[in-house]
């Protein structure tokens, strides 16, 4: 064994600094994971990356699967064979895999199987903020939620054990703040479980109605397990009237708020490390004395609803309790109840408001200015990176649609190019839903000509998205002869989540070579007319798109250019504005480069009244040079970056 990263140190008891995602990976190592799969998604994309780097050393299997459903199916198979398996995804991915998960929970598992799901409250790097806890409940599986990196590791190990005990998959829900936060983690022993994978001919994993009862029994067992897990904790006075029920990072927000208010002796904080099923006895013990119960949780009022139901169930023993949470509006996210992230400020203000209400003081209608957060940070517009091929692709697309003039439109998909809904993509996207939905919607629009519909339809989607979910839509388009143009924005990587490989890259998770499955071969196999262009060649690309808009039936155009962030690592030409050629505002271009094309590297020198390039962030693509009407932008010979 050569050099090992911190996450893999075999030094039990040592405290190391790990991010939440590293801690999840560490937890999997300590639990003796044998099989790990994922489709990359923020905020959990790094977990499989970290495991990929360790797979050879620790002799387990890792895989970037083409989507979350196959990822989960693969992990389930390993579990059926008796191995411990992990599947990692983001909340949206759980929806993709959900059909399988609801079946799996009836059929059961064998080796410990953990489903790590990253929720993204506030949607930092997502299109929506979905609360996966509901899906865990719906699927009849236990849901654990850690509050910090240490717990992330502990919860991972506990989840494997619980899963193996229940013979049922266990969900580990995490949120962005836990995944990306760093903290001290005390290491435990790295476990090597040497099991021979085997599926006995007598063993069956069948989804059938009769196993609904089995699943309910398992959930009851899980609840019993939850009574004793150290993941559920309580801090505060023994018998308190004020009970704050929290989970995940909200535990820390709650503690900070209580400490800042100096109410440590007044407010007790109960933290659920297992959010479903509820540890009823543990909760009842603290609810029994409480008069005011406040919920600190992110996105939906999941625990609030469950606890209220629990209290109703045991009404006689509970006495009268006032509830404060999302439903009452006291603990609302910054944009309203059920929205966005929590923070200490929200919880502190909620506690103060409850106190003021009790004393009959007037309640301010507006939330006070932040009491703990620093001043406003400058806003940064969502934009494609400098040199991003998507910017050029969208500019070409816009031009082609305008030239065509029949009101053609663009259906979006999930990836970096989702930003095409905004100014950086010339506001082109008119729909944006789930992975592969652009092409799916295009199948629908593509059948409307029979009713007199005459608008050209374009669906865009990325290369990784193509393998993930576009293929079925494209097969459907061919089968039913839908009229649309599919533009595959091929940047040769899964860029949005950090450049993970996919079937078209010729690499697997561990970096070993794989046979490339080229986009064009799949399209050619469907016998759909196929064209390939370089988006940096804007004029040519615009012309190709324009011509393709005139055609009928399904058509595919691959716009292929390596992600600028990858390309700039090897070759980065210097690009600059020749001030002698730039005419400034006298040009008549109306500051095209900085104002309209709007690459972040194209900026305007107010003092000189001319365009300039921010050479620090420029990735040297040179597209702006080809679009400048004065040819005032100079691209120097590319220099190889070592």
């Amino acid at each position: 064994m050569g050099f090992l990263p911190t996450v893999a140190l075999d030094q039990p008891g040592k405290k190391v600094f790990l991010s939440g995602n590293e801690a999840f990976a560490r937890g999997a190592l300590e639990a003796g994971v044998a099989y790990a799969t994922s489709y990359p998604g923020s905020p959990t994309a790094e977990v499989l990356e970290i495991l990929s780097a360790l797979a050879k050393t620790f002799n387990f299997y890792v895989e970037w699967s083409v989507n979350e459903k196959v990822a989960m199916e693969g992990a389930a198979a390993a579990s059926f064979a008796g191995l411990r398996s992990l599947v990692v995804m983001k909340c949206d991915g759980l929806n993709v895999a959900f059909d399988f998960l609801t079946s799996l929970a009836l059929a059961g598992t064998k080796g410990g199987m953990v489903i790590l799901v990253g929720d993204d409250p506030g949607a930092h790097s997502s299109a929506k903020e979905e609360d996966s806890r509901y899906l865990g409940k719906l699927a009849h599986i236990p849901v654990l939620e850690p509050a910090d990196p240490q717990e992330a590791k502990e919860a991972m190990v506990a989840a494997f054990e619980l899963s193996e005990f229940l013979r049922q998959p266990v969900m580990l829900r995490s949120v962005t703040r836990v995944c990306h936060a760093g903290g001290d983690v005390a290491l435990s022993k790295l476990q090597r479980i040497n099991r021979l994978p085997f599926l006995d001919r007598e063993e069956r994993f069948i989804t059938w109605i009769e196993f609904h009862a089995t699943a309910e029994t398992k959930i009851a067992q899980a609840a019993a397990w939850g009574e004793n897990t150290p993941l559920n904790t309580y801090v505060g006075p023994e018998r308190t009237k004020w009970l704050l029920i929290t989970e995940g990072p909200c535990f820390y927000y709650a503690r900070e708020a209580v400490v800042l208010l100096g109410w440590e002796e007044k407010v007790g904080i109960l933290k659920l490390g297992m959010v479903w099923p509820l540890p009823e006895e543990f909760l009842k013990k603290h609810l029994m004395h409480a008069e005011k119960v406040i919920f600190g949780e992110e996105v939906e009022p999941f625990t609030e609803e469950n606890v209220k139901a629990l209290v109703a169930q045991y009404g006689k023993q509970m006495g009268f309790i006032n509830f404060y949470g999302k439903k009452s509006g006291h603990v609302a996210g910054p944009a309203g109840p059920g929205l966005g992230e929590m923070n200490p400020d929200i919880i502190m203000q909620a506690l103060k408001r409850i106190e003021e209400e009790e004393q009959g003081l007037p309640v301010p209608q507006e939330r006070e200015e932040s009491l703990v957060a620093p001043g406003e940070l400058p806003n940064r517009e969502l934009a494609f990176c400098p040199g991003c091929p998507h910017r050029a692709s969208f500019w070409a697309l816009k031009g082609a649609l305008e030239l065509d003039g029949r009101g053609g439109f663009v259906l979006g998909d999930i990836g970096c190019y989702t930003l095409g809904k905004g100014r950086t993509g010339y506001n082109l996207l008119q729909t944006m839903h789930a992975m592969g939905s652009g092409a799916g919607l295009a199948c629908g629009f593509g059948q409307l000509s029979r009713f007199g519909f005459n608008q050209p339809v374009v669906a865009v989607g990325g290369d990784s998205t193509f393998y993930h979910a576009i293929i079925p839509a494209l097969v459907n388009a061919k089968y039913n002869q839908a009229d649309f143009l599919l533009v595959i924005l091929d940047n040769e990587t899964t860029a949005m989540t950090g450049h993970q490989p996919h079937p078209g890259t010729g690499l697997r998770a561990t970096g070993e070579g794989a046979e490339k499955i080229a986009l064009e071969e799949i399209v050619a196999g469907l016998k759909i007319p196929l064209f390939i262009s370089d988006p940096y060649a804007v004029d040519e690309t615009r012309a190709i798109i324009f011509r393709l808009l005139q055609e009928k039936g399904p058509r595919v155009l691959i716009l292929r250019r390596t992600c600028a962030l990858i390309a700039a690592k090897t070759k980065k030409p210097r690009v600059y504005v020749d001030p002698a050629r730039c005419l400034g505002d006298a040009c008549g271009c109306a500051r095209f480069c900085s104002r309209v094309f709007a690459c972040p590297a194209n900026i305007w020198d107010e003092e000189k009244g001319k365009a300039v390039i921010d050479e620090v962030i420029c990735n040297g693509c040179g597209v702006c040079a080809s679009l400048c009407p004065q040819r005032a932008i100079v691209v120097e010979e590319a220099v190889l970056v070592s």
Binding site: K398, G399, A400, E402, L403, D404, G405, Y426, D539, R542, A543, F546, R547, G588, C589, A590, F592, V596, F597, L627, C628, P629, Q630, R631
Partner: protein
Amino acid sequence: MGTARKLKKEVLDKGRCTGCGFCVDFCPYFKVVDERIGLIHFCGLQEGICYDVCPRTPTDLPRLDQGLFGRERRDPFLGDYLFFFYARAKEEEIRKKGQYGGVVSALALTALETGKVEGVVLTGGEKASFPTPFFARGKEEILAGSSSKYSAAPTLAAFHTARREGFTKIAVVGRPCQVTALRKWQVSEKETSPEAATELLVIGLFCFWALAPEFYRFLVTKVPPEAVLKLDVSETAMVATTKKGEILIPLAEIRRFIRPACEECFDPTAELSDVAVGATEFDPGWNTLLVRTRQGKELVRKALKKGLLELKSPLPQKVVALRQAALQKKRRVALALAQEGGAYLAPSQRYLAQVLAGEVDQHGLLAYGSS
């Protein structure tokens, strides 16, 4: 001055674009693909040269005439000119490649070889698909641009490219709408940056109509584009010459592809050019040549001196026929525009009266109706 938005509204959206190509690539916002010109993004500027120079925005003809000829036009049908000749290139090689007498190539070559210009803006490419505008800088290139195209190539886009590359003495071979755009631009350029003025030589082409882009889609159904050696139009048909012979497409089938903008054209003979060249309508070995300006006269003189050109007198009855054809077109357009109230032209009342009421007598001269 108008905005790009106004240009889109009044010209592009109404199908009045002639496809001249002046607005294309003049700024980053007008683009062309396959002879369809579009505004791909609103620049937001409150005034644009694009609107000023478009041949289908208000055009002050008397002022342009005055600027170019120093007087109001003397010939209401063919525009002002100094000489009316039949002409042909002396070199057989040039004649062979040309549509008729090869006069455009011979004159372009003269301009280039005498150093009058640094290059010539032309259209080349395949005979039966979208022509490609380019900037010819040698004899080979000029000959590659010879022979007629029947669609509206955005030739003037190449004029901008040439200027941007630093050329200041440029000849343009263009359709009447393109000639008008260039002259309108010259006026506006003189106003905005007189020091940067381009020395411009304009060889105009007779043009009664150009075909819309859809024509090429239609043509493919009649003849494989790569097989076409030459396209020509007779009185009754379009003639596609291939190695295997001629394919005739009745004009009736072609006419539906005429660009709407051409139905509104007032100028079939490139009235604002230095020289204008067209067919003789009876002898494919010769061209009609109208020498309009002093600069045009100088060019023809040099071509004769270099032995690149020969001239002869026109047939009087053919001169009459050309006048008649021009009058008919002008009258049709004048009536249509007057009805619409959105006339882009601002001809003088006297001139309009001539066009609407005048007749061409057997000598090809203007005569007024008996009333």
